[in-house]
């Protein structure tokens, strides 16, 4: 059985039909064509599928597409302002805070959620804030530094 859903993704009104047991991640990737969110584990452990749902950071693999009526979803595709990258994106590039890049959209969404709540986090707060995102390439240090640099720039 399926659901007909009207929702908002990155500020745009979106309508889709999905199977009732289909995850938001599968809807984003396979029905909407937003492939920034990645499936790492599919069980909420790796954070590669992180999106912001009604202001809260969630794993889109642990949300049903059918739940999205009237909701606001933010994905990595909505992070840059046109051709201008978000400071977090720019600092991830400048600081080489990625290698293979699979985890990067998830880290960026998690970092954005963190900085909205806490614009001046300590290193420890950043590490706890990003503990739900796994990266097997960087060893995390460059990611933490990129978030610190972006936070500094965003505070002005």
């Amino acid at each position: 059985m399926s659901s007909h859903v009207k929702t908002t993704i990155n500020g745009d009104a979106v309508e889709f039909v999905c199977a009732n047991d289909e995850s938001l991640l599968d809807v984003l990737r396979n029905r909407i064509g937003l492939t920034g969110a990645k499936e790492g584990c599919g069980t909420g452990d790796c954070g590669a599928c992180s999106v912001i749902l009604d202001g809260r950071l969630v794993c889109s693999c642990l949300v049903l597409g059918a739940e999205m009526n009237g909701k606001k979803v933010e994905t990595i595709e909505g992070m840059a302002n046109g051709a201008v990258l978000h400071p977090l994106q720019q600092h991830f590039i400048d600081g080489a805070a990625l290698q293979c890049g699979i985890c990067t959209p998830g880290f960026l969404m998690a970092a954005q959620a963190l900085l909205r709540k806490n614009p001046d986090p300590t290193e420890e707060e950043i590490r706890f804030g990003l503990a739900g995102n796994l990266c097997r390439c960087t060893g995390y240090d460059k990611i933490v530094r990129a978030v610190q640099a972006a936070a500094k720039e965003m505070r002005g």
């Binding site: 059985m1 659901s3 199977a19 009732n20 047991d21 995850s23 599919g42 069980t43 909420g44 452990d45 954070g47 992180s50 749902l53 809260r56 950071l57 969630v58 794993c59 693999c61 642990l62 949300v63 049903l64 059918a66 739940e67 009526n69 998690a110 959620a113 963190l114 706890f128 804030g129 503990a131 739900g132 995102n133």
Partner: protein
């Protein structure tokens, strides 16, 4: 996975109860979904019906009531940290609920779901038991309340009857000079499941003597344990070294743990006492004791 799965979004608890009561197949409540969807994906569960309670009015609200706080069954754990009055009154409960999973998981998971999933290692449950929390249950025969410790019936099983759903968790009003705390042991610093856990809630008098206490242990039996002997060991004391030793001994004595890859029986029994002592120290300091 369930091609035929129906998904319902009732707008009242009564409708949700009717849907759950009438369903002849496998029916589950969806709140945060952080356990349910994982189990569905793994093929452990194939629901015929999923009833999403998040669109029921009031279900996502934290209310201050005459008797304390009412936390709706669909309140995500991260929302608890944003309620200053709740954090002030029950810091142990809020901390416990926000040790569950990652920030992503905390944005969805609920204390009611943590309780109904009925894992012995559920982080919020020992803290809720120590706090003396109750659940409000709506069912085909009307509403009833149960103490949190009476909800789990075993690993993965609850005492809720067919058609019954939890609508809220009620936390009592914080008594003056009271404090609560929750600690767990995990081999990492974050994102892990409790090997042993302990919640303590206590009240002291003007002289710092403990007048009331509740001590609960998690992950050392098939369900959460309310350890009355542990409370007795510290009531009437100022949490001196002797009282703490008796508290630890009572907690260790209450454990009926298993050996598994995360901890041995011996280790769990020992650590239960250590955590109880440390949680009691934090709760005592939060109550204003020195």
């Amino acid at each position: 996975m369930g091609e035929m799965m129906r998904y319902e979004t009732p707008s009242t608890a009564k409708e949700a109860v009717t849907l759950m009561a009438k369903e002849k197949g496998v029916a589950f409540i969806l709140a945060g979904g952080t356990d349910l969807l994982v189990k569905m994906k793994a093929g452990m569960l194939e629901p015929d019906l999923v009833v999403d309670i998040k669109r029921i009015k009031g279900m996502a609200d934290i209310k201050k009531t005459a008797s304390g706080f009412s936390v709706g069954a669909a309140v995500p754990c991260s929302a608890l940290t944003e309620n200053a009055a709740l954090v002030k009154a029950w810091p142990g409960v809020v901390e416990a609920a926000n040790l569950i999973g990652s920030k992503q998981v905390q944005g969805r998971c609920t204390m009611s779901g943590n309780l109904c999933n009925a894992s012995p290692a559920a982080d919020s449950v020992p803290a809720l038991v120590a706090a003396g929390a109750k659940v409000v249950i709506a069912g085909p025969k009307g509403n009833r309340k149960l103490a949190v410790e009476d909800v789990p019936a075993g690993v993965g099983r609850t005492n809720l009857k067919k058609g019954e759903i939890i609508t809220a968790i009620e936390l009592p009003k914080k008594l003056p000079k009271s404090g609560d705390a929750y600690l767990r042991f995990i081999p990492r610093t974050e994102m892990d499941i409790a090997v042993v856990s302990c919640g303590v809630n206590l009240t002291i008098d003007a002289k710092g003597v403990i007048t009331k206490a509740r001590v609960a242990l998690g992950a050392v039996a098939t369900t959460v344990l309310l350890v009355k002997d542990a409370a007795k060991a510290i009531i009437g004391t100022k949490l001196d070294a002797e009282a703490k030793a008796k508290l630890a001994a009572a907690c260790s004595a209450a454990c009926k743990p298993i050996d598994d890859k995360r901890g041995t029986i011996e280790f769990r029994i020992e650590v239960a006492g250590v955590l109880a002592r440390r949680a009691a120290e934090t709760a005592y300091a939060r109550a204003g004791g020195k």
